[in-house]
């Protein structure tokens, strides 16, 4: 017997949602193998890895606070991905949010009032949009590949932030550490749940999920984006502007990532460091795909990815593994997801290996 892949007559709707679950299960298997290789008891190590970050209310707060930026960025990116616009510059756009929001916080925070935080959010959105606007402009006017340009800008943004933190923004009272002065209270998100660090940025993520859902599932603009992503030819024929799709797709990601950046400095960090993001811009790509480019799905996959981040810390503290194991599992998860997605369009068929052709009984018709 040999296994063969047969094209399905129609893509399987079940597999669309079963595939992420299979990918998660397979990633757990890989995790157990890695734990075993590291000399740990695989099942209990996996249990520690998954459940210990959820031990108490504080931890749940941490889960939410990490999930918020991931969900927010992923919803923004998903709008672009659906339109076939490959914005992989979420990381840089997040950093621009940090820079723009940080500028407002550092300049007006100490003296300003209640308007400082909203101004930071708007500023961060503008910063992210500007950074996403560059690849959009280069794509629509010069046909330059947006994957490469948006990615290059990630490095440029990181260097810009480093320059600021090592230079003009360095805290004079910070013992020469590369960090800004702590942000003023008016520049911080209020805490939502007492005893945790969970703050109002979670609400922004939820609003993004709602807006994203309405845009993608109900609006004509969302329909146009979907058509553009599925078939360039059909979009042209229908008269849906490809350039507009690029702009909407890129800017949605940029605005979301920029606001997420503000959420980081105005939330758990409370201060600006050169490494403002633990790779949220990249992880959000996985979150978007794992959530099937659907805002509701992204809500769940964002929580899962957040758990993976927390588990990385657990791995370091309780299991004696490097926290970079998070990155390895993220990559594994995405790989398995793409593998399982094959089953959306194909089904496994068993067939005898030989003979190649078998005779079918002819009934003489």
């Amino acid at each position: 017997m040999s296994i063969r892949f047969e094209l399905r007559a129609q893509p399987s709707k079940t597999m669309v949602w079963l595939s992420p679950i299979m990918a998660i299960a397979l990633t757990c298997c890989v995790a157990m193998v890695i734990f075993a290789l590291a000399g740990l008891e695989p099942v209990s190590a996996l249990a520690t890895f998954i459940f210990s970050p959820l031990a108490d209310l504080y931890s749940v707060g941490e889960l939410l606070i990490k999930a918020a930026p991931l969900i927010l960025i992923a919803v923004g990116l998903a709008i672009g991905f659906r339109a076939g616009v490959w914005n992989v510059g979420g990381e840089g756009q997040l950093i621009l949010g940090v820079i723009f929001g940080g500028f407002i916080a550092l300049t007006y925070g100490p003296t300003g009032g209640i308007w400082v935080l909203p101004a930071m959010v708007v500023g961060g959105a503008i910063g992210g949009a500007l950074w996403a606007g560059i690849p959009a402009f280069l794509r629509t006017h010069f046909n330059a590949n947006e994957i490469l340009t948006s990615l290059m800008l990630n490095y440029v943004a990181q260097l810009w932030l480093s320059y600021l933190i090592f230079g003009p923004w360095r805290d004079p009272a910070g013992f020469n550490f590369p960090q800004s002065a702590p942000l003023a209270p008016s520049a911080l998100f209020p805490t939502l749940i007492d005893g945790t660090r969970a703050n109002a940025s979670i609400l922004i993520a939820l609003v993004a999920v709602g807006l994203g859902w309405a845009l993608m599932s109900k609006s004509f603009v969302g329909f146009q984006l979907k058509v553009t992503g599925l078939s360039e030819g059909a979009a042209k024929y229908a008269g849906f502007s490809a350039k507009r799709a690029v702009w909407i797709g890129m800017l949605a990601g940029g605005v979301a990532a920029g606001i997420a950046g503000v959420g980081e400095i105005a939330g758990p960090l409370g201060q600006i460091f050169p490494t403002a993001s633990p790779g949220y811009g990249y992880a959000a790509i996985i979150v978007a795909f794992l959530g099937r480019l659907n805002p509701i799905g992204i809500l769940f996959s964002g929580l899962l990815m957040s758990l993976l981040y927390l588990s990385g810390d657990v791995a370091q503290m309780s299991l004696g593994l490097p926290s970079s194991i998070t990155g390895l599992f993220q990559g594994t998860l995405l790989f398995f997801l793409l593998t399982a997605d094959v089953l959306i369009h194909y089904r496994l068929a068993l067939e005898p290996a030989r003979p190649l052709y078998r005779r079918e009984a002819s009934n003489g018709l």
């Binding site: 490959w86 330059a144 996985i286 490097p322 970079s324 390895l328 599992f329 990559g331 593998t339």
Partner: protein, 308 residues
């Protein structure tokens, strides 16, 4: 102001070499119609593997071989998903980068902070003992020599002159036609992808064992992506790809020149130069749509189904 021309040339060579390897590898892959955006991840993995093997065995070449194998293995993963299962090549490439980066930083954790001590004269074998040209051999690492004669010349000859190269181009141009006249499109695409992966592995190995002689996260710093951009810049021609690699090598080194020349720009701005240069160059090439249309392998990034 006085700075010597020779050190500039030499450091440009040193900085350009990983791009020669990764760029030519990706060029071959893309000529077969496969767009592998996972070069960055493959380079990271290659760098870690080479460093670990070279450090453990004390043999640089074993490290390079191991990196080639690791790169080919990763790209085999890519090939299965993107060629056999016809998954979206951009998504799989991105997954490769995220996976390779994660794998590299996990595997490389124990090696952070270690240094690889090696002697270039030894690596070059007896050549450094030659009179007159000997010092050149000791200054220029054998991996750089190899990137010229083995890699660049061979790739150029393969594409421009050999029948196999003609077949590869045909597959990238029109896989359906190539299949119809009897070429094993899937197999050719696999080999082209594996070759690209192995070359990215060498590029990574060069970065950790020759260029930096150490492993640290962020060592590759986007060079894999620049290599992908380089192929576009080269309009899929190997000779231009090599020229471009040294151009970017020079841009990487601009920071050092600026410092030695006493130019007072922020070092971050100078470090950003290669990335900005990549964007500028991409724009300059991509804006000419008919040049792109005539240069790009027509099936690039599109899956092929032999069962039609």
């Amino acid at each position: 102001m006085g700075f010597d021309l020779l050190p500039i040339l030499l450091s440009t060579l040193i900085a350009g070499t990983p791009l020669v390897y990764a760029g030519l590898g990706e060029l071959i892959t893309e000529r077969a119609g496969v767009l592998n955006m996972g070069v960055e991840g493959t380079m990271v993995t290659g760098a870690v593997v080479a460093f670990a093997v070279a450090l453990t065995t004390g043999n640089l070449w074993l490290g390079v071989l191991a990196a080639m194998a690791a790169g080919a293995l990763l790209s085999l993963l890519f090939a299965v998903l993107a060629i056999s299962f016809r998954a979206n090549q951009l998504a799989v490439g991105l997954a490769m980068t995220i996976f390779g980066t994660g794998l590299g930083s996990y595997l490389g954790k124990p090696y952070v902070g270690m240094a690889l001590v090696q002697d270039a004269t030894q690596a070059g074998g007896g050549l450094a003992q030659l009179p007159v040209v000997g010092p050149l051999f000791s200054a220029i690492h054998p991996l750089i020599w190899l990137s010229w004669d083995y890699c660049s010349a061979a790739v150029w000859y393969f594409l421009a002159r050999s029948r196999a190269g003609l077949a590869l181009r045909a597959v990238g141009e029109a896989p359906t036609s190539a299949h119809a006249i009897g070429y094993p499109v899937v197999r050719i695409r696999y080999w082209a992808t594996l070759f690209g992966g192995a070359m990215s592995g060498i590029a990574g190995a060069y970065m950790s064992t020759v260029y930096a002689s150490l492993w640290t996260e962020g060592l590759i710093a986007g060079r894999g992506w620049i290599a992908v951009a380089l192929v576009v810049f080269a309009t899929w021609r190997p000779e231009r790809c090599i020229a471009g690699a040294y151009l970017f090598g020079g841009a990487t080194m601009a920071q050092l020149f600026a410092q030695s020349a006493g130019i007072g720009l922020p070092s971050e701005l100078m470090s950003a130069l290669p990335y900005l240069a990549t964007i500028v160059v991409l724009v300059l090439i991509s804006r000419d749509s008919s040049l792109m249309r005539l240069s790009v392998p027509a099936s690039l990034g599109k899956p092929f189904n032999p069962q039609g």
